[in-house]
């Protein structure tokens, strides 16, 4: 069906594709080979060679690192096995006071720090902010999701993962 060049996908990922073209992509049927082109674009962007298996957020990826599958920052910092919550190994800023919340909401109402705190997860090596979560004070750090990599590759992409 529809298919776009890698350059178009690269512009789309970078947010530099002009709006009329972006909208045409949005309105068309999904392109079959999008995932692999998307991953190839990301792979070009990172400096390391480990193959990306699944993007987790803008600068965070699950990749094949030797025999292991690890969560890795764009800078190359590894957060360890992808089945473990990578957030536990990140630097965390907790905003649980009016003063610290005011830093990010200078002009508007604030959440009540007694009821909610904001946690920012940062790469210990390059300082990239990977994730932000809002939770009640005392609530454990949220494990966002543990992807079924094999199932995803086998059943959805029709390209089973090698190895395991």
């Amino acid at each position: 069906m529809s298919s776009y060049s890698k350059e178009v996908i690269a512009d789309l990922v970078a947010g530099t594709l002009p709006w009329p073209q972006t909208r045409r992509v949005m309105s068309a049927y999904k392109d079959d080979d999008r995932f692999f082109k998307y991953v190839a674009v990301l792979q070009d962007r990172v400096e390391w060679k480990d193959p990306i298996l699944l993007p987790v957020s803008d600068h965070l990826f699950i990749c094949q690192s030797g025999d292991e599958r690890v969560t890795k920052c764009e800078c190359g910092h590894s957060f360890g096995d992808y089945r473990k919550n990578w957030k536990l190994k990140a630097h965390i800023i907790v905003r649980d006071t009016e003063e610290s919340l005011r830093e990010i909401y200078p002009n508007s109402d604030l959440p009540d720090p007694e009821w909610m705190e904001i946690r920012e997860f940062i790469c210990p090596e390059c300082g990239t902010l990977h994730e932000v979560e809002a939770a009640a004070p005392g609530y454990p750090i949220v494990h966002d999701f543990e992807p079924d990599l094999e199932g995803f590759y086998r059943d959805w992409l029709k390209k089973p993962l090698g190895g395991e």
Binding site: M1, M26, S27, Y29
Partner: protein
């Protein structure tokens, strides 16, 4: 044929559409010839000339003798629309009432999805406002306020205007636009702001234009008024340049007069027209004018005109002689304040790209069109997506060796291969079956759209005559019109240039109007009625002077100018107006005023239904206007006696064509050779260099004394 080449054309009508530029040449006897060429948006003069040359060739004369002999060149183009679409217009600044500075950014909600397909209208993530024509930082609010009665509530703070003007001058804008609230009722503040801006511009020694909304269009609804003034300031300079380019090449080939262009409400004007944005939506308007003209010939004043080209299917309605005026049309998703002949449009045309979703097997037509470049696959100009035109070629309905008179050789094999791979195989059906299915879907869409348009008129379809034209109108006519029960279905030898033909039937025209708030109670007494009459007449007199002065400036003699005042009226409390042509030129007595009200009721009953009249509610006059016209030479269709029904003199062979699920041996006829009285029975294909009429098995086409082609279903 030879008789046509003896005379000299006197009118050239050219209509540049999104894909093709069509030309029609008309001589004083009403003979015509048409030409076609691809539109060239960068320099429209190229496409203009190529199209004119094509028509001149058909007539058998040179471009020089064509242009030196004609009296009128009409051109309706896309220059301004392209300026707007590509955002390559002037750098603007805006001064507006304080508090309304964000009006440009917020726009109207519907501007975020106007022109979208139904699926995308629901798919809210695709909604986006059009890029503003003026950035927020070049928009300045000044303190002032006029209320809806025109009373000044807050005086104009002139020091703020000075400051704003200075900033815009420092920003080096090309033009300053001014729009304040209720300036259509009382323009004092806008005028004063303009004065101050001009003072500041002079003082700074700068060269800038100043536009005020009350001059461009003194009509209620500030968002549309704002868009009108902005687009006038933004897009018209390049548009005028394109038109000037057309005039220059015409003169180079010996044309002696000024080029004319078409107004969106159906008149002609010189290219120096002061409000050039009124010519922006002119392309499809020609068709309605042409339809009105043909309607007079055939004696039916209820007509549906349908224009199918490469991208869209436009439908216009004339109900018992009345055309509908749309007061706030959309232009590149900006709501404008320009009266426009009303058209309904759906995306359906021969250039539509066909897609089949491999998972769900859902077929979708368009909305993208292959346009003229790269065009359908069969053009072999680099197109890779199958289109409806490819299906027409695959099914033998288009003649591969006679497209545009043989100028484009259709590569049927190439189209077959791509269509099989991308559509037929995905659907798992035979090639021809899939191709015919695609065409059926397109025709069903158009058929439904026609039914919808008719049912909204509240009049039975059997009162209407369908006029079908446009490059691919006749090709899909049978399917589009089947089962609706029209009184008559007509197409033309010059179908491909019908809009251009329509333009040539127009008169020179000006339309001036102003918003009013005149509410006339149902029990108004004689004294009150007389008072209303005086108010109306005073406005009409002002408008007459303005319109006539403009036309005299365009070079028309005063005694040639006819003026007709009109009113936009509704029953008090309604939301929509009807346009009422005044039965008299001024209102001098109670009886005159009663005549005007009676005329409104008559028009209302025609457009809606007589039982829907509701005088008890009272009457509101929301707009008063004036149309000034001056005559020009028009084509005349020639009436010739009916001959024998046997069309064998036009017969040119037999071709295999796939219609209704199987291949037929279809007779081929040359459209231009059909004579009054001829009768063609399907399966047949009537060909013309610029269009093709497919006659389905057992259907019939008869040629009448005007050489119009009447299609009747079996």
């Amino acid at each position: 044929m030879d008789q046509l080449t003896v005379t000299q054309p006197i009118v050239i009508g050219i209509d540049a559409g999104g894909t093709m530029t069509d030309t029609i040449l008309v001589d004083s006897n009403g003979h015509f010839k048409i030409g076609k060429s691809a539109t060239t948006p960068m320099d429209e003069a190229e496409g203009f000339l190529a199209s004119a040359e094509d028509a001149a060739d058909a007539w058998g004369i040179s471009l020089e003798s064509l242009f030196s002999g004609v009296g009128v060149v009409l051109y309706s183009g896309t220059g301004m629309l392209n300026t707007l679409l590509s955002r390559t217009g002037r750098k603007l600044g805006l001064i507006t009432t304080k508090g309304l500075e964000d009006m440009i950014l917020m726009g109207r909600g519907l501007q975020a999805w106007a022109d979208y397909s139904y699926a995308d209208r629901l798919h809210a993530v695709t909604h986006a406002h059009p890029d503003p024509l003026v950035p927020r930082r070049r928009t300045h609010g000044v303190t002032e306020r006029v209320d809806q009665f025109g009373d000044i509530i807050l005086p104009l703070y002139e020091h703020e205007v000075h400051a704003a003007a200075k900033k815009l001058i420092a920003d080096k804008v090309d033009a300053i636009c001014i729009m304040t609230v209720f300036s259509h009722v009382n323009p004092t503040h806008e005028k004063r702001i303009a004065e101050i801006c001009r003072e500041e511009i002079r003082a700074a020694g700068a060269d800038m234009l100043v536009y005020t909304s009350h001059e461009v269009r003194p009509v209620i609804r500030e968002q549309s008024r704002l868009n009108s003034v902005l687009i006038e300031a933004y897009a018209t300079s390049r548009g005028r340049k394109q038109l000037k380019g057309i005039e220059d090449v015409s003169k180079k080939y010996g044309f002696k007069y000024g080029v004319q262009t078409l107004l969106s409400f159906g008149g002609l004007t010189s290219i120096d027209h002061p409000r050039l944005h009124e010519t922006m939506i002119s392309g499809p308007i020609g068709g309605i004018l042409g339809a009105a003209y043909v309607g007079k010939l055939i004696g039916n004043d209820s007509l549906i005109c349908s224009d199918m080209g490469g991208t869209s299917f436009d439908m216009g309605v004339i109900t018992r002689g009345q055309t509908r005026i749309e007061n706030e049309p959309l232009m590149d998703r900006f709501k404008l304040n320009v009266p426009t002949l009303h058209l309904d449009t759906i995306g359906a045309g021969a250039g539509m790209i066909l897609k089949v979703d491999p998972l769900t097997k859902k077929v979708s037509l368009g909305p993208e069109s292959a346009g003229s470049d790269p065009g359908p696959i069969c053009f072999a100009k680099g197109g890779t997506e199958p289109t409806i035109a490819d299906c027409d070629a695959i099914l033998g309905r288009l003649n591969p060796d006679y497209f545009l008179g043989g100028k484009v050789k259709l590569q049927v094999e190439k189209a077959r291969k791509a269509f099989k791979e991308k559509c037929a195989d995905v659907l798992g059906v035979g090639l021809e079956e899939a191709a015919e299915g695609m065409i059926d879907m397109l025709e069903a869409d158009a058929n439904n759209a026609l039914r919808r348009v008719i049912s909204s008129q509240g009049i039975h379809p059997s009162e209407f005559t369908l006029l079908s034209y446009g490059g691919s109108g006749p090709l899909h006519l049978a399917g589009c019109s089947r089962g609706i029960g029209f009184n008559d279905i007509i197409t033309f030898q010059f179908a491909a240039a019908f809009s251009a033909f329509g333009c040539t039937t127009a008169d020179f025209m000006r339309r001036h109007s102003v918003s009013t708030q005149i509410d006339i109670g149902s029990r108004a007494n004689d004294g009150e009625l007389e008072g209303f009459g005086e108010r109306v007449t005073a406005v009409w007199n002002d408008l007459t002077k303005a319109a006539v002065d403009e036309m005299i400036a365009d070079g028309h003699a005063r005694e040639k100018i006819k003026t007709i005042p009109f009113l936009m009226m509704r029953y008090t409390g309604q939301l929509e107006d009807v346009e009422v042509m005044a039965p008299l030129s001024e209102i001098r007595s109670v009886e005159d005023m009663r005549k005007v009200l009676a005329e409104f009721e008559a028009v209302y009953a025609k457009v809606n239904h007589r039982v829907s009249r509701y005088g008890e509610a009272g009457y509101s006059i929301t707009e008063l206007g004036l149309i000034a016209t001056a005559d020009k030479v028009k084509p005349v269709l020639v009436k010739r006696p009916l001959g024998k029904p046997d069309p064998s003199s036009a017969h040119k062979g037999v071709r295999e064509a796939y219609i209704g699920g199987r291949w037929h041996k279809a007779n081929l006829y040359e459209m231009d050779l059909l004579q009054p009285g001829h009768e063609v029975i399907g399966p047949a294909i009537i060909e013309h260099p610029a269009t093709t009429l497919v006659v389905h098995p057992k259907d019939r086409v008869t040629v009448d004394e005007w050489t119009l082609l009447h299609y009747s279903h079996a």
